[in-house]
Symmetry: C2
Subunit: 281 residues, 2 copies
């Protein structure tokens, strides 16, 4: 595996791959890799000649500088994981290479916003657009891989690629879960033992609601109330939001039909967890 | 020459060119081609295996709908010119293919704005960013060609490519002029006979000021006044702006040094003309 630290070296690798007519599967990450990322890598490996994983903690998508500073890093472990899964290039650019000066332009979203995680992270997804546009231009991927746990991020990338005609294919990959249903996340290590025991209630609530919809329930209040009542069995969980929206448009639904997302965010003492289910009605 | 009307057909052509390892030179235009465009095409032809010219009047960059409706069209003549110059593909997408629905995002500039033509056309260059991003993604050009007569547009494209790491090379091409110095422009046909006789004063004024700078003049007021006094010899010209800025940054200069642009816009009864000179100090 090649570890590349500069944009110019990365571009050289891409030019060579293109000359050799090789497809590139790209997995953008902020590092601290877990089994969710490994699943993205494995899919990319299976579906492309070459796999590039980027590890870059993008300052543009953090509204809170403390949050940026506290973001966990594990460069050695990330490198080992990528090497073990057969990644061809681990791309770890520096902030000064990615943002050598103040940007002279901004990208911002007017749709798929004002709901879910955008409520509490204003500006976050604009920063995501910008860094992905840069990375897509540097790596020129045939296919890009994102986990559906961050369903709003997938919706935003879908809009970015579609609106701007990016020559790449979005591959959303299903959420990887613990045996008890809890979605894999770097943040799970911050749960206390008691919280960890209660956290699977989140997915249980979403799954039960999904079954209700599949069996014909169309009253959104009934569905949302059921999710809330199941999660409320936890003594430590504090619900941030539970929302039922069209997907990937993320718009409120007068009547439940088409593809919908049921998503929630739940706060524990030192971890805020998100999860969702997609239902085709 | 192939005339392509849909994005999907254009993408197919690009994929085939890439498979054949051919470089693509791209000349984006709004049609109504004149000798300035022909010069861009000729440069592209000389420097690439394949030349693509787009003709698309981009609604996003017009702040005045009347201006958009009045924009001149000459599809047959454009087609003949492109065919005669050896263009490989003339790409003429429809508005509904380029903008099938309201965009869900915006791109806007924070630098290189508030000066020159941005003063009177707010939002114009944001629309330029968006359409070029789309066209660059559809055509994936090795090199893109823009005329230096629209020096602010060149500066904006330079910033776009640089900020977002586009895998393409910007080729700014010198302004093509009439024998008497007047910059070629589609708008010149709207000059009256008398105005046409006076219009070369614009380039004469800029050229004389350039010589003054090259000979050591550094007093910006003296330089700007000279340009004004020469253009004021015209009875019909009304000066919109005369500006002296760094290039391509387009920032005011405390002292004249480095690469500078001296640019002006002049209004006649039915035509607003722009022109500029670049000086390396």
């Amino acid at each position: 595996m090649e570890v590349i630290h500069t944009i110019s070296d990365m571009k050289r690798f891409v030019t060579d791959s293109q000359a050799a007519q090789k497809t590139i599967g790209f997995v953008p990450t902020m590092g601290y890799l877990h089994e969710g990322h490994v699943s993205l890598i494995d899919h990319a490996k299976e579906e492309n000649d070459t796999v590039v994983v980027s590890v870059f903690v993008n300052p543009l998508q953090f509204n809170d500088p403390n949050d940026l500073d506290a973001y966990p890093k594990s460069t050695q472990r990330d490198t080992e994981i990528c090497a073990a899964r057969g990644v061809d290039v681990l791309f770890m650019p520096t902030v000064s290479d990615m943002y050598p000066k103040d940007m002279g332009m901004t990208m911002s979203l007017t749709k798929r916003m004002g709901v879910l995680c955008d409520r509490t992270r204003p500006g976050h997804f604009g920063g995501v657009l910008t860094v992905l546009t840069k990375l897509f231009h540097i790596i020129e991927p045939t296919q890009v891989y994102f986990g559906l746990k961050d369903a709003q991020q997938v919706a935003v990338v879908d809009l970015l690629i579609d609106n701007l005609n990016f020559p790449t294919i979005l591959r959303p990959i299903p959420t990887v879960r613990e045996p008890d249903g809890l979605a894999k996340s770097s943040r799970n290590v911050n749960l206390s033992e008691q919280e960890r025991q209660e956290a699977p209630l989140i997915y249980r609530a979403l799954s039960e609601a999904k079954v209700m919809m599949e069996q014909g329930e169309r009253d959104q209040q009934v569905i949302l109330s059921h999710v809330q009542s199941v999660i409320d069995q936890s003594h430590h969980a504090e619900i941030d939001y539970i929302e039922l929206l069209s997907y990937p448009q993320l718009e409120a639904l007068p009547t439940l039909k088409g593809q919908v997302i049921l998503a929630c965010a739940v706060k524990f003492e030192r971890a805020r967890l998100i999860d969702n289910v997609l239902v085709d009605l």
